[in-house]
Structure formats: C-alpha cells, structure tokens
C-alpha cells in the first residue's frame, strides 16, 4: 500500500456504545499483534448489537498485509486508538521503518528542521533533525547532510539506559519514555551521533503557543506522541510513529521542498518522499547508498545516497543559525 499522506480525514464514529466496545477490541487486537492500518480503517467489534449492516462491502488491509472484505458498517477509524505505554513500547507489527536521505537533493533549505520543530512544538536551537556542513577532507567536495536520529538496529543508547526508558521497538523505531527517564544522560554520552537533546529546564525550547503535545488533539501521554519537554529528561527524533500509525509521513519528509528525505518500510521494500516512490533495495543498489560510520557497528536505519549529480550546486550557508539559546 505504501505510506501516503492521508488527505481524507474520516469522521469519527458518533456511536458512543460501540466506540467503547471497539476500543476494547482494539486494545486486545493490538496486544495480540492484530493492529489494523491506517488509511483503510478498522473493523468494529463483531457482534456489537448497535452495529448496523449496510450491505455495502469494502476492502480493508490489515497490518500484517491481509486484504479482507467487510461490511462498511463494521468499519471504524483509527483516530480513536488509545496508545497505551505498552503498545507504544511494542511498536507497529510487521513494519520496519527506514529513511533514505538523498544528499544530491539537499540544498540546506533547513525546512525539515522547521517542519520538525513545528510538529513537535520545539523552538531553536533544539533540532531533532540537523543539517550539517560536511567535508570529509580538504581536497574533497563539501555537501549538506541532514541528520535525524538513525534509529540504529544495534543502538548504543538503549543498551546503556539503566531504567529501560529508551527502547527499541519491533518496527525499528527507538523511542523514549519521558515518564520514566531519570535524566542521567548516559544515552546522550553513548550516542556517537549526538542525536539526543535534553530538557535542561521547564518548557525548554518549547513553542510558546504550544498547548498540546505533538500529535494534534492528543492528551494522553505516551512515548509515541511524546510528552515533549518533560523537564530533566532526554528527547530526540522519534520518526513520528504517531504519524506512521495514521499512514502519514513524518513532517521533515513532507516539509522538504527538494524531496531529499524518503521514509518507508523495509518490509515493503519501498520508500517515498511524498511524490516519488522507490524500491528501497534498488535505490540503494543503483545509487550506492551507505550508512554513516558503518564501522561503528550501530546498524543505522537511515541510509544516505552520495551527493553525486547534484540537483543544486553547493553554496556556503551565509546565515548564522541558532546563535541564541
């Protein structure tokens, strides 16, 4: 199915009784690994008396890739999934999220940073995704390198956490439970890429107009929508798992004017920047994709495509960013 921006926001069910039943069903379903995707909708509790059969059949794709045909009246909407801490820790079954960054397309527009900050209600100088001016040697060409969290498959950060506050999910995402983090910052010391930020104070680098945590309208805190800016805890790029559940792309990807960032699922072997969709394996093969500092053995889930045949000539950044705290 590929991950697409879900333009059609389906209205929520107005049936109070059935929504309770559905929530319970979903909880069980998710726990049993039967979580349902996104863009398609979900099946209401079978046997619920209030459920009206319409006679009209629709096709629904489940998370583990099964296409099932159900009555339209049985289809509910994922907006109501209550993501408990346990569900957030387990991740989305059957997925292996991955990012590909095409260095040939990056012109240091810094829109990914802005999009991310807006999405997570952060303000400069805190950047969950950074854009670095890289030059491997004096005699080699400079290039811009967007750098999110690499969501490593052998993550040095989760290994050192004394309380399991940061953890690796089955869908490849590394998250932080800000309600559990003790703020020892060992994970920050252990991350060789400095992907992590710390909330040094209350409302540290938080947008003033921010009334709710990321994931609009969400009020229950869980590691997936994040409880940003819990003073004294660590935070970082989270690959927007709440968006992924809705079938939407992370904001850094959609904010990039040049289509530099691709997000997708390694199990589906596809990545997209919202416009172009590629086979992950072919893209990496054809464009000689690599992972940054492979020799560290962290096995990042972020691939880079070398800055060859660039879309833009390299221009020095004349603007100074983040000069103030």
């Amino acid at each position: 199915m590929g991950i697409q921006k879900n333009e059609n926001k389906i209205t929520m069910s107005n049936n109070e009784n059935s929504s309770n039943g559905r929530r319970n069903f979903l909880k069980l379903g998710l726990l049993a690994g039967g979580s349902v995707v996104v863009g398609a909708g979900i099946v209401k509790a079978i046997g619920n008396k209030d459920t009206a059969e319409t006679g009209e059949k629709v096709k629904v794709l489940t998370a583990n890739g099964k296409l099932v045909e159900v009555d339209r009246g049985l289809v509910g909407h994922p907006a109501e999934i209550k993501i408990t801490n346990l569900i957030a820790r387990e991740g989305i079954e059957g997925r292996k999220f991955v990012m590909v960054i095409d260095l040939a397309r990056c012109a240091n527009a810094r829109k990914c940073i802005e999009g991310c900050q807006k999405m997570h209600h952060k303000t400069p100088p805190v950047e969950w995704i950074k854009v670095k001016h890289m030059q491997d040697a004096e005699t080699t060409a400079p290039y811009w390198m967007p750098q999110p969290c690499f969501h490593c498959d052998n993550p040095p950060c989760t290994k050192v956490c004394p309380v399991d506050a940061t953890f690796k999910r089955q869908d490849g995402i590394v998250l932080i439970d800000n309600e559990r983090c003790i703020g020892c910052r060992f994970c920050m010391a252990a991350c060789p890429y400095n992907s992590r930020s710390f909330n040094w104070g209350d409302h540290w680098a938080v947008a003033k107009d921010s009334t709710s945590p990321s994931g609009a309208g969400c009020c229950e805190s869980n590691p997936e929508n994040g409880t940003p800016s819990k003073m004294g805890t660590v935070e970082k790029c989270d690959f927007c798992p709440d968006m992924a559940r809705k079938g939407e792309l992370p904001d850094c990807v959609t904010s990039c004017p040049n289509g530099t960032l691709f997000f997708g699922d390694a199990n589906e072997d596809s990545v997209t920047n919202g416009e172009d969709t590629f086979r992950l394996s072919e893209l990496i093969k054809k464009r000689a994709g690599y992972r940054y500092l492979e020799e560290l053995g962290t096995e990042p889930r972020v691939y880079y495509l070398p800055p060859v045949n660039r879309n833009f000539p390299f221009e020095e950044d004349t603007e100074a960013h983040n000069t103030k705290e």
Binding site: R180, F198, G232, T323
Partner: protein, 461 residues
C-alpha cells in the same frame, strides 16, 4: 592470616609494666583531639559548613529551575559533576590499598595509617553516590533504577558495586574501631549525653574478651581480602561508564586499569596530606613519623610511574596513529585550548612528583605534603580532562548551536555544589576525627609486638 602477621611482627622488647604504660600513653595521645577542639578546629568546621550551606542553596536553585542553571548543554551533557564523581570514586580506592594490600603483603608501617585511609575511602564513596544523584535530571525518579533496573546498563553495575563497596568500607572502618569506641565509652565520661550514648551503642558491648578479639580480627581478615576485588571493580566499572561508549577518547580498552592506577595515585596523595594535617593538628607525630612519610613517598613514586605507564598507552599510542576522530581530540589536548590544563596536569601532577620524590629530602613531611597537594589537584583536573574535551569532540561536527553549547566552563551553581561536596568529604573526615581516635591503638601496638588481646585476656582473668 593473623598468625602470619603475629609471627612476622617482631616480638616485644618491653616488660609488661612498660607495655601497660605505653598503652596508657597512646590512649591519652589519641583521645586528646576528641577531648578538646581548638579554636582553629572550630573555625575550620564553621568554614566547611558555610561552603556546604552555599552548595545546598545552589542545589535548591538547580532543583527548582532544572539543569539549565548549569553550563551543561546538549554537547557537553556531562561535565563537572561527573568528573567530580570519578575523582571521589578514585580517592576511595586508597582504603583498599593501605588497609588491605599493604596489610596482606606484610608492610608493617601501614598500621597507623589504616584509619586515615579508611575514613577517606568512606567519605569519598559516600559523596560519589551523592554527586551522581545531583547530576540527575529527575532525582525524584531515583527508585526507577530499582523498579525498572536493567542489568545490562553499566550504571546499574555502578550502583551495585558502589553500594557494596560503601557497606564493605564502613564495616572495614568500623570493626577495627570497636576497641577504640569502647575506650571512648569508658574514658570520655564527661562528654554530652548523645555522644556517650553513641559510644555505648556503637561499642556493641565490647569488653575485650577473647571471643570478641577473635571474632573482630577474623572479620577484619575477611574484609581485607574482600575489599580488594571490590575496590578494583568500582573504579573499573566507573571507567566503563566511558569505555562502553563509542566516543573517540573514551572508546579505549585501556580505561579500566588506567582509572585504577590513577585512583591509587590520587588516593595515596590524599592520605599523605591527611597524615600531615593530623600529625600536626592533633600532635600525633609520635605515630605518624617521618618514616611513614618516607615510605608513602616511595609508594607514591611507584604509583606515579604506573600511572604514567598507562598514560603513555592512553595518549601516545593513539597519537602515533592520529586517526581522524582521535586526532581532533589529541591536537586539542596537546596544543589546543585544553593544552593549558593538560600539560600542567601531566607534568606537575604526575611526572615531577615521580622524579622529586626519588630524593630523600623531598620525602620529608612538609615537602612531600606540598608535592601530594599538586598530585591531588592534578588528579582532580585530570578527571575534568577525561570527561569534558571528549564530549566536545564528537564524530559529527558541532554546528548551528549557540556559542555556549560548543564549549563548557562550569557555572557558579556547579562550582558551588562541587565545592560543597569537597567540603562535605572534609567535614566527614573532620567530624569522625572529633569522635573517634584517628590512630588504631591495637594495630599500631601489634606492630610493636604488643598484643592487646593478650593484655586484655590477662586483665579479664
């Protein structure tokens, strides 16, 4: 073990009457500082309390505002607190060295030094635990380590070994102290009620009978063996907090022994300073003699050389290769902004002491104490050099951050809290010395061939 020491100790050349007189004299000498506190002593305690008071206020500021009141930011996310933690763990190792290694290897001169070394160990490890809590962003969630603790995290290993070492060190201080507490209980009857009550409770009914002596000595023997692997573990695990990461400068297989070697060097220098202060302030020159300073000087030469050996491995071997990530760091240490600290620390804190202390005159009490001061200050700064420059030299360049994120110098809050922690260590040592004798009578007299156990046995008959 005990028998062994007994046999190697030279037999008493004194008559029983002389022995009793010597014991009485030593009792008076070690109890004198507890009986009276000089004005200078009171001023010293007051000063320490003021420093601790300022530190408590600074911590209150930090608790209410968060760690933003420190100079720590996303790149230098560990700083003064962590380097101070490493320093405290380091000096705490000396308890094991003096009271245990020298004891098991039959270096008789260690006897009057055991208590000084052991109280430094206990105070150091206590404040190491405290400073690490101060470094936490959410200290109120400390219990999460026990509720959600994961054995794979080196922090959990550290919690286990530090708490075990603390308990072992307290017992290792306490058991040999029992006869002295009983002495205080019996002799210091003019002290306030709470103090007499303290002696009575802590003495555990000690009356010097045969069974008590045997049991105490057996416990001390067991602890003296147990404490060595524990001491090595605490500092090795502390080294692993850094060495288990992939950061250039910490990613080193040399780190465990490098830390342990540095710890013995720093701790020995601390004991020398403490010996000087106690021998002068408490008039204990009779027991902490020039010979002890001389021997400690020789020991310090040896430890400086061992530490220098590990430094060569730690800095010069990577410097020979100059792999890019390490080269950035090493250039900064050797000739960049950190060189102003690096070279003085290596020269005045390690190389020069090793050379100077080869000369007998330099091992006399005053010169060796000055040299030891340099070693201790150097050791403290060295921990800063082990933590901060590495954090500021990551693989990916530090770009697009405010200027104060790309450098680190501790804020007044950090400096106040760390000063308070250092004052706290000194206060614990001072207060201990105002409550209990700083020289172990039975251990020292045993070194003279006088067995207090035998004397007590005869008295009890």
């Amino acid at each position: 073990m005990e028998k062994n020491i007994h046999h190697t100790a030279h037999h008493s050349e004194h008559t029983p009457a002389e022995e009793i007189a010597m014991r009485r004299e030593m009792r008076d000498d070690v109890l004198r500082p507890i009986r009276h506190t000089s004005l200078l002593g009171k001023l010293w305690i007051a000063t320490l309390l003021v420093v601790i008071g300022i530190g408590c206020y600074a911590y209150y500021i930090q608790l209410t505002n968060g760690l933003k009141v420190t100079s720590l930011r996303d790149y230098a996310s560990w700083g003064l607190y962590i380097s101070n933690f490493v320093f405290f763990v380091a000096i705490s190792l000396v308890g094991a060295l003096i009271s245990s290694v020298l004891r098991l290897t039959n270096f008789e001169w260690h006897r009057p030094l055991t208590r000084v070394a052991e109280i430094i160990a206990v105070a150091g490890i206590m404040f190491a635990g405290l400073i690490i809590i101060i470094d936490m962003g959410r200290p109120e969630r400390l219990l999460n380590i026990f509720i959600h603790g994961r054995i794979q995290s080196p922090i959990v290993w550290d919690v286990i070994v530090v708490s075990t070492y603390l308990v072992t060190s307290v017992l290792f201080l306490y058991f040999p102290l029992l006869p002295a507490i009983a002495l205080c209980r019996d002799e210091l009857t003019d002290k306030p009620k709470w103090q007499r009550w303290l002696y009575k409770v802590l003495a555990l009914g000690w009356d010097g009978n045969e069974k008590q002596w045997k049991l105490m000595k057996k416990c001390v023997s067991i602890l003296s063996v147990l404490v060595i692997p524990l001491a090595i573990s605490i500092h090795t695990v502390t080294a692993w907090l850094f060495a288990t990461t992939l950061r250039p400068g910490w990613d080193s297989t040399n780190f465990g022994p490098y830390f342990v070697a540095g710890a013995f060097q720093a701790g020995t220098a601390c004991v020398i300073i403490a010996m000087f202060v106690f021998s002068r302030a408490y008039n204990l020159k009779k027991y902490l003699t020039d010979l002890h300073f001389d021997r400690m000087g020789k020991l310090l030469v040896f430890l400086c050389l061992v530490y220098a050996y590990f430094n060569v491995n730690e800095y010069l071997v990577p410097a020979f290769k100059m792999r890019e990530a390490e080269a950035n760091l090493l250039n900064d240490l050797f000739s960049g902004p950190f060189s102003k600290v690096y070279w003085p620390v290596q020269i005045f804190g390690m190389a020069l002491p090793a050379i100077l202390l080869l000369f007998r005159k330099m091992r006399r009490p005053l010169p060796i104490t000055i040299i030891a001061l340099f070693v201790v200050v150097g050791a403290w700064l060295k921990r800063y050099l082990i933590v901060t420059p590495i954090m500021l030299h990551p693989y990916l360049p530090i770009q697009n951050v405010p200027a104060n994120w790309a450098s680190y110098f501790p804020s007044w809050v950090e400096i106040s809290i760390v000063s308070a922690s250092l004052a706290g260590v000194l206060l614990i040592i001072t207060l201990f010395s105002k409550l209990f004798p700083m020289i172990s009578i039975w251990e020292t007299m045993e070194g003279e061939g006088i067995d207090l156990e035998e004397m007590d046995n005869q008295n009890n008959k």
